[in-house]
Structures are given as C-alpha cells and as structure tokens.
C-alpha cells in the first residue's frame, strides 16, 4: 500500500510502486484530466504539481511522490487558477483540448514563480508542452491576460491565496 496525497485528499493504493503516477491518477483515482500522450517526458500533457512544482507524471513513479502534495488539473484552485481560467476563456484557447490540462498546469506553475512573465519567460516555461492543434498564440495571450488580471485583483484574491 502506498499513500498518495492528491488535491488535498489522502488515498491508499495497492499497485506496483514503480507504476507511473499518471496511470494511478487516471485509473485508480479516476482523475482523468491528466493526459497520456507520449509516456517518455517529451510532450508535457501529463504535467501535475508536486509540492507546487510542475512534474511530468508519465515518468514519475508513485513511490517517489508518496506523501508529497500532488495537485492535478481537477484540484487546481486559488487566484492563479481563477485568473488563468479567465484568460483561457477570454482567448478561447482550447481546440481539441487534449493537451490543455498540461498547458494550464505548466502556466500555473509559471505564474506562481513569476507573476508577470514576458514572452521569453513564457517561451522558456511553456516550450516543453506540445500542442498539435497549434493553440500557442492563444496560450501566450491567455497567460498575459491572467497575469494582468491577477495584478489588478491580487489584493482581493490575496485572501484566497493565503488560505491555500
């Protein structure tokens, strides 16, 4: 039995400790928002947060993250999530949508460490997440939008952030 802490909930799972976190999230915990696309850490679709840092869940075994704080797209909350959601809806980013959870989790980690990224910062942070549909221009705009929203409203949303 391995204990996993996902989206503020504790789960005990009885699987091979070398199983990638991705498949445990998807199949054991039913959190299918995190996506499989390459399985070899090349595309970023499976990005989740471990203790707030973006991590590729397709090559991360569950024994390595047991006891750590895991956040998936389903559990992404707070002012960054809200401002990203606004940006994503405002720019109508998604096409097929399959890579978007990975894009959003990566963008959230970027804004957490750098609330006002410029284009180069966005390139550096986001270049590991592929989008075959080509939503890159909208992703860029959505991150800028989220960044501007959060800077305007960070005072009121700061409370939320504190709670988190």
């Amino acid at each position: 039995m391995i204990t996993l802490r996902v989206n503020d909930k504790a789960y005990k799972v009885d699987v091979d400790p070398e199983t990638p976190l991705l498949w445990v999230l998807r199949e054991q915990l039913g959190l299918t928002g995190t996506k499989y696309s390459c399985g070899i850490a090349e595309c970023g679709a499976c990005t989740v947060h471990i203790d707030g840092e973006p991590v590729l869940s397709c090559i991360t075994t569950i024994e390595d993250v047991s006891g750590q704080d895991i956040t998936t797209i389903e559990g992404l909350q707070g002012w960054i999530a809200d401002s990203l959601r606004e940006g994503w809806i405002n720019e109508d980013v998604s096409q097929c949508g399959y890579c978007q959870p990975g894009q959003i989790m990566t963008a959230a980690a970027l804004l957490e460490s750098n609330p006002h990224p410029n284009d180069d910062d966005i390139n550096n942070a986001m270049s590991g997440v592929y989008c075959r549909c080509g939503t890159y221009p909208e992703i860029r705009k959505a991150i800028h939008h989220a960044s501007s929203v959060s800077s305007v409203s960070s005072v009121s949303w700061g409370v939320d952030h504190e709670k988190k």
Binding site: E27, S37, T72, W88, I89, D92, C96, M126
Partner: protein, 748 residues
C-alpha cells in the same frame, strides 16, 4: 432508443458491370436525400413539454436549447459553429444554447459523402442550408404558439433573444414557456431565411461552447471513458506492415500481476489487464515472432531512387489541355525541377483508443472517431449484430487530422470485447500510434514549364510518382457507404471484390488534387501520374493531396518568377486575371504586408496562394535564416475568403493551427522507413513545433455574402511554400525537399 435501419427506402444504389478481362468493375453511385429518416420523436428522448420537431433542435420548458451536432469535435470548433447557425435563425439566446454530439443515425449523415463522416472541411459548408432552415422552422413554430396564446396575428409577433414578443403590446414569452404548445403545431414546410446583413450571431467571435470542460479536466475524451468492470488492453502490431503473428508465448506473462488475457486478434496481439500499465508491461515482456513479407526490405532512400528512375516513364494522364509538348518545343525558355515529399504521420495528441462493451445483444462503442458510420459498420461485421443494436457514442476527440476516418482501433476494441465477453478499452502506446498510422503518402514530382519571350509560362507539365492514398482508403471504407439493406454476405462479398479491384482502378485522381487543376491561366497543361505503391498504409492527412501538391505548385510558380526575373506576387496576379475573387485575396495579403520582395531588416518574404475547395487563401511568410542555416518564421500574414464567416475567432484558430501543423512538416519532422519499419516512434524523433518556434499570425478575412466554405484544413498546404519561397528570397537556395535540412542553408 430503438433503431431500425434495415427497411429504409434508399435512392442510392450499386451498379455492377462486367467489363472485359478486368472482371467485375464496380461503380458506386451515392444519391443524397430521399432516405426515410427517423421521426423527431424517435431521435430525441422527450416528453410533451419539450419542443423537438426536427433532428437538430430540442427546447425544454426552462428554455435550454440543445443542438445536435452531427460531426465530431476534433478541436475545429464545430460544436460552436453549427449551434451558431441554428441560434441565428432561431433567434435564440446564445447563453442558453447547449450541444450534444449526434448518435449514428441516417438523418445525421454528412451529405457530402452520404455517410456520417467528419472530413474534408465539409461540416459548415454542408450544414449551412439545412441548419438555417431547421432553426427558422422552429422559430416560426414558437411565434405561432405565442400568437395563439395571445390570440393575435403571427404577423404582429417576432422572436428575439430566446423569446417571442408581441410588437404592439410589448408582451413577451420565453421559448421555454412556449415549447409545449409549439410542439403540438405543424412544422412549417417553407420558411423565410434572414438576410446576411440581419445576422446578429453569425460573424461574432462568440466563445466556444466546449471551452469550460476543457479547462478543468472534466471533458471526456475516448481515453477517459469509465465503465464498471472495464478492462484495459494494449495491442502490439506487426513491426513490418502486413506481417502476421507466427508464434507467441503467452505463458511468460500470464502470471504477471493484473494480466487477464493474451489474445491473437486480426491486427496483432492484444494484452488485456486490469489497468493500462499492467497491459503495457505485459506487452513489453511478451515475446512474439512475426512472419516476413515483401515489405521487409523497404527503405525511404531506395524508394526515392526508384521514383527518380520511374519519373522518366510516361504516366497515366490526369489532366491535359492545349498541346504541352509542342508549346514546350516552341517556348523561349524551359525550366525543370524535381520535388520530393516524405511520408507524414498524424500524431494526434490523444493516441488511438476505443472502448467497447457487448451485452444482451447490444454493442456499445465509445469511439473517438471521425467516422461514425464506418465504426458502426465495423462493429456490425465483427459482432454479427444488426445496425439497430450498435450504439456509437462519440466523446471529445483529441485531434483527428484525418487519422480517425479509419476505424482500425474500433475493430480491435470490438473484437477483444467479443472474445473476452467483458467491457474493454483499447489504448495504443504512442509508439504503436506512430508506427501504425495511415500515413500521408510520399512522392516524387517532376515539373516543367516553358516561358514565352515576355517570361510568362505558356506550358506546364507535372508528373507525380508514388502511391495514391485513395487506393488504400476507399476499399476499407466502402462497406460503410453501402446502403443498410444490403445483407451481410453480399456486403462482405462486395468489400472483398473492392479490395482486389479498386486499388488497380482508382489511383491517380485523388493524389493529383491540387495539381491537376491549378488556378493560373496557362494555356497548355499536362498532369500525369506514375503509380508505384510500396505498400505502406496510407490515409487522409489534413488537407490531403494539397499538402504535397501545393508545395510543388507554389514553389514552382516562384521558380518561374525567379527565372523570368518577375515579382512573384505580380506574376500570380497576372496569371489570375479574370478571377477577381482570387486576385482580391492576393492583393489583400500584399497590402497588409507592404509587399516587397527585397529584404527588410533581415526579414525575407515568401508568398503562396491557394484555392482549397472554394476557400481562397494567400500567405506571406516573413523569415530569417541564421548563418548556421537555422530558419525562423517570424510572421505569417494570411488573407482568406471563406465566404460568410460564422465565427472569426475560430477561423483565426484554424489558420494558426494549420500553420503549426504544416510548420512541423516544413521544419521538423517526417516519417522514414528503414528495413520495412517506420523509424520514428515517439516525439523524441518526431518532434512537434513548440511555442517558442511559433510565428506571429495575422489573419485578414474578406467580407463576403457568399455561402461559407471550409476552413479546417485550408492553411496547411500554404505554409511550406510560403516559407521555402521566403528562404529562397533570403538565401537564393531553392528548397525542393522538406522538412528543410538546415545543413543546406549554411552561409559560406
């Protein structure tokens, strides 16, 4: 919902004819319309308070309007665009519109193919008239219901934003309140449609209806389908195409944790387990011996050599006008070039997968597919069940690009579900996905032009050497185009014959699309085709034959301009004389760019033009080439005339999406074959374009009152020639083989 398709009247029919020694030659005529379709009450589950008088619209008592979308949502935005068309004529409140993907049903067939198929950028084009009329009819019913409620004349009432208003008194009743009463009224046969200048919804950049579920992870893709007792399978396909299983030793993995079954299926070996990771580990461990076949020595480089030799042969004439040979002999300058295009993979973000469950004589299939009819036909063939007992559910699809027109993954899921008598989800690994695609065909093109004394082309000849995708796809898909009433035995017989006969008959026509009829006024033209099919499975790849032919045509027009020392924009403009709609698009792109073919600030410009099934586009790419030969596309200016624009934001997304798709093929990745195997297997050796490589995209849409045309594929063919023409402007080097090899561009 009970389905009964067997006794439906059909106008389309099969025509057989025996012709000479060729044996049975078959011609299939697809009629459209005339089919008896299900009545509205059979299509929608509804009670008496719901108004659902046609296959497309259902309005409940709370005023929620549900629109049935008969196409798969692949990301192209169809679950927004089609509801917008209905909402416009219905005078609906956009905030109350919902959508659902239609089940497989005769009424939901795409009229372009008479098959329920999301393909060839036909969704908006074919739905435009049908959905406008459907929306207008329901609007009239709601107005009539309101008029009878108020006991006033219908002419005194109008619909607006989800309600009917009595113009003189100002009384107002919402659609939801009128739905029950309206449902008892007759459906009007004739309706008046709005004038485009009255449109309030069409033309607006309304937000996509599928956005929010795709933000929070709740959108259900095929790979996300959940069922009680669901097992997961992964399939190992032959490493060399068409090889068969010779030997496999299931004992070695049977005792591994979670492994339930190891099965030989038509397409390879399936390992079924409690979870995907267990199935994958089992598959990785399993030892399989495969038979060999004639493809085992196949090699991309050898193929290119062979096609080079074959290009000296006269081909099958696809299109001829004037007297090209004589014109060439009389021309004052002759130019010739050879272009080589590789195989390409679809590499959809979501790997192939499908879920099937056969229970109590019903087969449920959750298929992320572009082809509901083929999925249903495939399940019927495997299970022996009638169509009425096969339910095709279409979840969100993580990218299609034509890959999911084939239904091989559906066949696997249904076959395994039948063998193990349990619900099963088949998930391919990325490696299986990359190496078992239906690829965009590779080909070699020899192209010649003769110029007159003024430097204008008077003759043009284009020879394509290689395989034709249609020879692979039509035999596969044919059974799904056949009328429902054709019994199984005859259906299988027809497919068997088609499989043998069609590949010998059809090659040439489809592979030359985009080459056979170029928009330019050139008097003498010859396009011919030399068939050589090495047997690698082929399919439809976003924009299909245009994806290679436009590269050849638009590059060579540029070569002509260079040879004649003419401006490539002005040359195209001249060759499009008498085609004002096309010239207009060309001029718009040039005007928005400030076209000049001279380098400015290290930026070089390349132009390309295309008429893609009535969608007219011009791209101007601005690139830089570093001394080390690295090509960076800085900006792409696109002018497009796609008729009436339903949603400009979606048009922009499809253009920039097509650019990204095409740029991956121009700058980064292709499929190569060595020793009969596909070399590339994942995104490490088939990398996609990244966000930092993305150019700025400026899209300019021509304002039009013409009916809408398709947009989903149209950008793909243009980006390669626009970029390579710009590279020529920058370096003087002509790229005739893509992806671009940076080595060839190093400045010396």
């Amino acid at each position: 919902m009970k389905k009964n398709k067997v006794d439906k009247g059909r106008r389309r029919f099969l025509k057989f004819g025996v012709m000479g020694s060729a044996g049975l030659v078959m011609a299939v005529y697809f009629g459209t319309g005339g089919e008896k379709t299900k009545k509205a009450f059979e299509i929608w589950n509804k009670d008496s308070s719901i108004l659902a008088p046609n296959a497309w619209i259902s309005i409940d008592s709370t005023g929620i309007v549900t629109v049935r979308v008969n196409h798969s949502e692949l990301g192209q935005g169809i679950t927004t665009a089609l509801p917008m068309i209905i909402a416009e004529e219905l005078e609906a409140d956009w905030s109350r519109i919902r959508f659902e993907i239609a089940p497989a049903e005769a009424v939901y067939k795409n009229p372009a193919f008479n098959s329920q198929l999301t393909a060839a950028s036909t969704s908006v084009k074919t739905s435009w008239d049908i959905l406008r009329k459907a929306g207008a009819a329901v609007r009239e019913m709601l107005i009539a219901a309101a008029a009878s409620t108020w006991n006033v004349n219908v002419s005194e009432c109008r619909a607006e934003k989800g309600a009917v208003i009595h113009t003189t008194s100002g009384q107002r009743l919402e659609f939801g309140k009128l739905a029950g009463r309206a449902s008892r009224l007759p459906v009007p046969k004739k309706v008046v449609l709005k004038n485009p200048d009255e449109f309030k919804i069409i033309g607006q950049p309304l937000k996509r209806l599928d956005s929010s579920s795709k933000f929070n992870g709740s959108a259900v893709f095929g790979i996300d389908v959940k069922l009680p007792g669901l097992l997961t399978a992964t399939v190992i396909h032959p490493p060399v195409f068409n090889a068969r299983v010779k030997l496999f030793d299931s004992d070695t993995i049977k005792n591994m944790k979670g492994i339930r079954h190891v099965l030989e299926i038509d397409n390879g070996i399936a390992v079924v387990a409690d979870s995907f990771w267990q199935a994958k580990n089992g598959a990785d461990t399993l030892k399989i011996e495969w038979t060999h076949n004639e493809i085992k020595d196949l090699d991309s480089e050898k193929l290119l050599k062979r096609w080079g030799e074959l290009s000296n042969k006269e081909g099958k004439t696809i299109h001829e006008q004037g007297n090209p040979k004589e014109a060439l002999a009389n021309s004052s300058k002759e130019i010739k070039a050879v272009y080589e295009l590789p195989y390409q993979a679809h590499a959809t973000a979501e790997p192939m997968n499908c879920t099937a469950y056969i229970h109590k004589g019903i087969c449920d299939v959750w298929a992320p597919t572009q082809n509901q009819d083929a999925a249903q036909e495939m399940a019927a063939r495997i299970t022996g069940l009638k169509y009425e007992n096969i339910n095709i559910h279409t979840p969100f699809v993580g990218g299609g690009f034509g890959r999911r027109i084939a239904v091989d993954y559906v066949a696997e899921a249904v076959q395994i579900a039948k063998m193990i008598k349990a619900p099963v989800k088949v998930i391919w690994t990325r490696e299986e996905d990359m190496t078992n695609d239906f690829y965009r065909p590779a080909n070699t093109n020899v192209i010649k032009a003769g110029l007159n004394e003024q430097g204008f082309p008077v003759t043009w000849s284009h020879r394509i050497v290689g395989p034709d995708h249609m020879a692979h796809m039509l035999p596969r898909l044919l059974p799904s185009f056949l009328p429902y009433w054709i019994p199984r035995s005859l259906r299988d017989l027809v497919s068997g014959i088609a499989n043998r006969v069609l590949p010998g008959v059809i090659p040439g026509k489809k592979i030359s699309e985009g080459a056979s009829h170029i928009p330019y006024a050139i008097e003498n033209i010859n396009v011919d085709y030399v068939e050589d099919d090495p047997g690698i499975p082929l399919g439809f790849w976003r924009s299909v034959a245009f994806s290679h032919n436009t590269f050849v045509v638009e590059s060579f027009i540029d070569e002509i301009a260079a040879a004649a020392e003419k401006d490539p924009f002005k040359l195209r403009l001249k060759l499009l004389e008498g085609k004002p709609r096309m010239q207009n698009v060309l001029k718009l792109a040039a005007e928005k760019t400030g076209w000049t073919n001279e380098n400015t600030n290290g930026l070089s410009r390349g132009i390309a033009f295309l008429d893609f099934h009535g969608t007219i586009l011009c791209f101007i790419a601005e690139v830089t080439v570093s001394p080390k030969g690295h090509v960076k596309v800085q900006r792409v200016i696109c002018a497009v005339d796609c008729g009436i624009v339903i949603n400009p934001q979606i048009v922009k997304s499809q253009i920039s999406g097509g650019i990204v798709f095409g740029l991956t093929a121009t700058l980064k990745s292709s499929i190569t074959v060595r020793k009969g195997r596909i070399v590339e297997s994942n995104f490490d050796d088939f990398p996609l374009l990244r966000i930092d490589e993305m150019p700025v995209v400026d899209v300019h849409m021509v304002k039009s009152a013409q009916p809408p045309t398709g947009i989903g594929e149209s950008a793909v063919p243009l980006i390669a020639p626009a970029v390579t023409n710009a590279v020529f402007a920058a370096t003087g080097k002509r790229i005739r083989r893509i992806p671009i090899d940076n080595q060839t561009l190093i400045m010396r």
